[in-house]
């Protein structure tokens, strides 16, 4: 089973985000980046399916030069090849434009399955997998918590709201969006990291892919959200803050 897995690089979880006045994206200097967490689960699922059914795993990432690191991580864990869609201004793309670029690169591959994470931790569109399915003309399913493949079909466990699940079946080729927690992602071994150095990363640009995009939406600006509640921050040493909190909960909120 040949699998394309989409991996995005996003600001590290604890990165302090600075927003230039009136900007639509964060200041990228001085912060660390990491693999989008859900994509780590998608990658792990791709590797396991390959190990079980044979084939290869190709990691595709779009973004500036730095995003090659997400591909390298995938290669170190066991993906065979990487495709980097080099784009310094990828963050200006709307969900459809972004998916069009990814779809154009994926179309060049011979694949049975495309896996994406459910949602990116930066844009958080939550749309890319579903859009890829439409653009590639394939069936899809999202919020996937288990994949069983047999005879060219997939049986999938989908998460629904409030603790419910559903089984669904669909034929290959297909596109799936993977939910966090589906598996326990492996760590890259030293051997894997060394082997990754010899693996191929192809580079493509939007122009080479022949994609022209006309945006359907535009981010006017991003900003730190306004608080909806007035939060009272209790200060002091741990002991002092704790004592103040107990006092407040007892006599002000009256919940103790």
């Amino acid at each position: 089973m040949n699998i394309v897995v989409c991996v995005k690089q996003v600001p590290a979880k604890d990165a302090p985000l600075a927003i230039p006045e009136g900007a639509a994206w964060i200041r990228e200097t001085d912060i660390g980046f990491e693999l989008n967490e859900p994509d780590g689960y998608a990658l792990e699922e791709a590797l396991r399916l390959k190990e079980k059914h044979g084939g290869e795993v190709v990691a595709v990432s779009m973004g500036p030069e730095r995003s090659k690191q997400a591909i390298k991580e995938a290669l170190a864990k066991g993906a065979e090849r990487g495709v980097h869609i080099s784009d310094d201004k990828f963050y200006e793309l709307d969900p459809l434009g972004s998916a069009r670029c990814l779809a154009a690169a994926i179309k060049r591959e011979k694949f049975d399955l495309v896996l994406t994470g459910l949602q990116s931790d930066d844009h958080g569109f939550g749309q890319t997998g579903v859009l890829l399915a439409e653009l590639l003309g394939l069936p899809h399913a999202t919020i996937i918590m288990q994949i069983d493949a047999a005879d060219g079909r997939l049986k999938l466990k989908r998460e629904l709201e409030a603790g419910w699940f559903q089984w669904v079946e669909l034929p290959l080729p297909a596109v799936l969006s993977i939910q966090s927690g589906i598996n326990k992602p492996r760590y890259a071994t030293l051997k894997g990291i060394m082997a990754a150095k010899k693996k191929e990363i192809a580079t493509l640009t939007r122009a080479e892919l022949g994609v022209t995009v006309s945006p359907t939406q535009r981010i006017e600006r991003i900003y730190v959200p306004k608080k909806t509640k007035k939060t009272e921050i209790l200060t002091g040493t741990a002991k002092e803050a704790a004592a103040k909190l107990v006092e407040k909960l007892k006599h002000e909120a009256r919940v103790l």
Partner: protein, 325 residues
């Protein structure tokens, strides 16, 4: 201008988020002078359509087809595409449910259009609607506007608008619309729905909840929070990653894929406050957040906050609570 509101039902039961979206649409309609068409789809939805007609909308459409009895992305996309092509709305609003996120972007793309998903707010400004959504896991908000030609698609996060504020007083008679669907057009086969968690604890009944998140770092640290829970007489609960790791059973997960709770006191410890967590607890009467990051979004919904290291604060709090008894 016309706004189409796509509601959601399963086996004749409403997804209540539908009415929150109706409120959003009514708000947009008041600002823009738009008319609202509400849509419900399924196998037999006549009585639901009648319920919708009681709301202040210009038109109610019922889409009935055997192949819409069980949700499939292909079935819903194909059916709604036909309705949209015929009704020609400018905007299509959805509740941001798991079902909607599974097909609405595809529906929009099948018409060559885009979607602004998971909106938490809506404003009318300088002659157009501005959609507010979160980015960077809730650390920033974004104002987003549509470009290009209508129709424009948007979905609204649970709790962003109040369903009980949807205005009634409508007089539209529901109208049935026919759609053309064939079994071979539907590529996914929906099978059974099931629950996994044993539900041995009912967190919805707990008056006090002590919830932990990834800030707890190791499962060996959980007793720290359990001791606090014991002292304060509360139940222990968690954010998703803690349950994903198997550190606590899934039945103790709070949020959109877990439980929705509204205790009199909710302590969020080492939880960042991602929207999927917050929708499950923001109805709590008093919310306390303990987090080392002063900018963590959880502080947006907290009544009281302590900015600092939970490994110092939680033991101190446990001690103070024990003392004050």
């Amino acid at each position: 201008m016309k706004i189409l509101v796509v509601t959601e039902q399963r086996d004749g039961q409403w997804n209540r988020a539908s009415f929150e979206t109706l409120t959003a649409a009514q708000q947009a309609a008041r600002a823009t002078g738009a008319s609202i068409t509400a849509v419900v789809a399924g196998k037999s939805v006549g009585s639901l359509a009648k319920e919708l007609a009681a709301y202040k909308v210009a038109e109610v459409l019922a889409i009935e087809h055997d192949l819409l009895e069980k949700y499939t992305p292909d079935g819903y996309t194909l059916a709604l595409k036909q309705v949209i092509t015929e009704a020609r709305p400018d905007f299509i609003f959805f509740p941001h449910t798991y079902q909607v996120r599974d097909f609405a972007p595809k529906l929009a793309a099948s018409l060559g259009r885009g979607m602004i998903a998971d909106c938490v707010g809506l404003r009318y400004e300088n002659g157009h609607l501005v959609f507010v959504r979160q980015m960077f896991q809730g650390k920033t908000a974004a104002d987003v506007i549509f470009q290009g030609d209508a129709p424009w698609f948007a979905s609204f996060q649970a709790g962003a608008f109040r369903g009980d504020q949807a205005e009634t007083g409508g007089s539209a008679a529901p109208r049935n619309v026919n759609v053309d669907l064939k079994p071979e057009q539907i590529r996914t086969k929906p099978l059974e729905l099931f629950r996994e968690a044993k539900q041995a604890v009912d967190l919805t009944q707990a008056p006090i909840i002590v919830a932990i998140g990834r800030g707890i770092k190791e499962p060996t640290n959980i007793p720290l929070a359990e001791k606090l829970a014991q002292t304060i007489g509360g139940e222990i609960a968690a954010s998703r990653p803690i349950c994903d790791e198997g550190w606590l059973p899934m039945e103790r997960q709070i949020g959109s894929s877990g439980q929705t709770v509204a205790p009199k006191l909710y302590l969020a410890i080492g939880i960042s406050g991602a929207i999927q967590h917050v929708v499950g607890m923001k109805g709590s009467r008093t919310i306390v957040a303990i987090n080392k990051d002063a900018n963590a979004p959880i502080f947006e919904v907290a009544d009281y906050g302590i900015v600092g290291d939970l490994f110092e604060i939680v033991p101190a709090l446990t001690e103070e609570l024990a003392k004050s008894k």
